[in-house]
């Protein structure tokens, strides 16, 4: 009885290890700095991670289905620029959001087609797309910043509902619910897990690989497009150099959140927790006034430590 209880506890800790680690991390941070656990600061952290988190949702679909998107930062930038241009042309936030999401969808569908039909590894295909899409960003802005954004553009990235709830955080949570429904409650989501878990077994089960790869890319593009809208809205400007390296942050968030590189594992909530962990690291280092050079070292070390602890906890569960 005692061993069952011990095994159950271990299982629980292992299954929710990243959440437990995040909680412990927050406790440590609150001891280190008394301003950390204030409402304003926690809301700040959530606002700061929204773009990474929504990008991570897109990346999560791809990693779970055994793919990867190195173009995510460029897609985010282009989608944001297209959305902003559409907003300036129409004055409608809804049209702008749709334009951004459609832009993400189109870019990623092209990547998906390249991966599916030409059997080019996603790593290579999206690396090529990264350069091409960034080039388009320069082309449409001529390298200069779009700074005259109009009165309401920043509402999505900087605005509040009822004066306290950030709009961007609401959008992030809503996106997480959509991703959870997609991945956990639909056949398509289960197909993605099957595809990432074991490609050949998925084929043997009658899953159309090409169709599902393209769908995974297309759906991830919608999230990346939305992330682009949030990015330009938060920045209150459009710039061709925007969101550079964000694909790395999105991948870090998903991996920290327990979505394995090997595919077939992970959840939407993991991606959100991963992004929050990244945000907390950056925030606490700033609050403690840690030097910029040292921040990079600590940042990298904590990410490796968090993923290492999570992997260790999982291996404990497997050995049980």
């Amino acid at each position: 009885m005692k061993s069952i209880s011990k095994s159950g506890t271990l299982n629980f800790i292992a299954k929710y290890s990243i959440y437990v680690i995040t909680l412990l991390f927050m406790i440590v941070c609150s001891i280190l700095n008394d301003k950390f656990l204030t409402g304003t600061n926690l809301i700040n952290i959530l606002r700061q991670v929204t773009v990474y988190a929504v990008l991570a949702f897109g990346q999560a679909i791809l990693l779970i289905s055994g793919n990867l998107d190195l173009c995510a930062g460029s897609t985010c930038c282009l989608a944001g620029l297209m959305a902003l241009k559409m907003y300036l042309a129409t004055g409608s936030l809804v049209v702008a959001v749709l334009a951004g999401m459609i832009c993400g969808l189109v870019v990623n569908t092209i990547s998906g087609c390249i991966v599916a039909f030409f059997r080019i590894p996603a790593f290579v295909a999206t690396l090529g797309m990264q350069m091409a899409v960034r080039g388009v960003c320069y082309l449409i802005t001529n390298g200069s910043m779009i700074s005259q954004t109009g009165e309401n553009w920043k509402f999505l990235g900087q605005g509040f509902v009822f004066g306290v709830i950030p709009v961007s955080v609401l959008i992030m949570l809503l996106s997480a619910v959509v991703l959870w429904v997609l991945m956990d409650q639909t056949t398509l989501g289960r197909n993605f897990y099957a595809l990432g878990g074991n490609r050949e077994a998925a084929r043997a089960c009658g899953i159309n690989l090409n169709k599902n790869v393209i769908l995974a890319f297309a759906l991830s593009g919608l999230f990346m497009g939305l992330a682009g809208v949030l990015y330009t809205s938060r920045a209150n400007c459009g710039v061709a150099t925007g969101a550079q390296g964000y694909e790395g942050q999105a991948i870090s968030a998903t991996v920290i959140g327990g979505i394995g590189f090997a595919g077939g594992t992970g959840s939407a909530w993991g991606a959100i927790v991963g992004a929050v962990v990244l945000g907390i690291i950056s925030n606490i280092l700033n609050l403690l006034g840690v030097d910029s050079y040292v921040q990079q070292i600590v940042n990298g070390a904590i990410i490796v430590l968090a993923v290492g602890l999570d992997t260790f906890a999982r291996s404990l569960r497997t050995s049980q």
């Binding site: 039909f117 082309l139 390298g143 938060r234 400007c237 150099t241 925030n283 050079y293």
Partner: protein, 346 residues
């Protein structure tokens, strides 16, 4: 389906190849090449031949990109027979040597302009011997002194003069926050020194924190949100930023937190369009401009002298441009110039 797609891709590739080989320089002027002109020992171009200039710039940096575009347009409008080809270093020092090797291999450039971080004397000598005049710009290195021409506006002076323009506006015993560009980047180091020296003229002022945010608006915004949490809305009096974009990001964070940015002393560097707009609106108190027009003027003069034979490929003749402090007093002049160049911020 697969075959059709493969066929379509092959067609697109063939067409791209034909267009690429058959056309002149692409409309944006980037990375085109023309190998018709034989090597020569002089930069002087015989009548009817095209004078070719290769320019390695960092398109990811707004000032560098803007300057390259402004100069290209000015030069090509001034001369009928000059072609400026822009190459993108992507902000990567590793792109510099391959660029110089490419210029040497092609051997038909009359003028090469580039920014560098290393001693490229051997490459420069080879280019000069092949008839290519070389200019490096936007930074000065002792190890290239006398090796090739240097067009520069001091990064140190840009920050120092911007800082000095607002130093007296900081209240007594004021507290200052500093936003740095990129760790280890020479331009950042010099701008940082410029700000620190300006602040050193006010011993009563305290620097609360100095953080690098990669010249990025969003990163600076996040940094300012954390600073506001740490020091409070009234815990700082001034912000010195190594470019205007970061200052604008910090202002966004202040506005979002309900802080009146106009009540703080804020200075930046670059005076690009959006920076000047912020000066006009009273959000940024001062910024500092290194004029793209000055670069264009100096380059036109250099090309004229090279074409006429007054100067040859081995000529080493440097130009130092004075920075211009931009405040409410003169911002309209600069905005008018941006309007001429077609900048509207949209």
């Amino acid at each position: 389906m697969k075959r059709r797609l493969a066929l379509l891709l092959a067609l697109v590739l063939s067409l791209s190849f034909l267009v690429g080989c058959g056309g002149k320089t692409p409309p944006d002027g980037s990375s085109g090449q023309d190998t018709q002109k034989p090597n020569s020992d002089q930069s002087e171009v015989p009548a009817g031949e095209t004078f070719r200039m290769a320019w390695l710039h960092n398109a990811a940096d707004q000032w560098h990109h803007q300057t390259a575009l402004v100069c290209k347009q000015a030069i090509e409008e001034h001369f009928d027979n000059v072609e400026v080809t822009l190459f993108d270093s992507k902000g990567d020092a590793g792109e510099i040597q391959p660029f110089l090797e490419r210029c040497i291999a092609e051997g038909d450039w009359n003028l090469v302009m580039y920014g560098t971080l290393s001693d490229d004397s051997d490459y420069i000598k080879q280019l000069q011997d092949m008839g290519t005049n070389v200019i490096y710009y936007a930074i000065t290195w002792d190890f290239l002194d006398g090796v090739c021409s240097n067009f520069v506006c001091s990064e140190y002076e840009l920050a120092y003069q911007s800082g000095m323009a607002v130093i007296d506006q900081i209240p007594e015993n004021g507290k200052v926050l500093l936003l740095g560009g990129s760790e280890g980047y020479s331009g950042s180091i010099l701008r940082g020194q410029g700000f620190m020296d300006a602040l050193a003229t006010r011993p009563d002022v305290t620097v609360l924190d100095y953080k690098y945010q990669k010249f990025d608006k969003v990163a600076a915004m996040t940094q300012m949100e954390d600073w506001i949490t740490n020091y409070g809305a009234d815990g700082f009096d001034a912000l010195f930023s190594e470019n205007d974009a970061m200052a604008l990001g910090a202002i966004e964070a202040m506005n979002s937190a309900g802080i009146d940015a106009k009540a703080k002393v804020i200075c930046g560097v670059d005076a690009l369009f959006e920076g000047c707009t912020a000066v006009k609106e009273g959000l940024i108190d001062a910024t500092c401009w290194q004029s793209s027009d000055e670069y264009a003027k100096a380059l036109i003069e250099r090309i004229e002298k090279l074409q006429s034979g007054e100067l040859d490929a081995h000529c080493v003749d440097s130009e130092t441009f004075d920075p211009l402090v931009v405040t409410q007093d003169n911002v309209d002049d600069l905005l008018a110039r941006y309007a001429e160049l077609g900048y509207t911020g949209t």
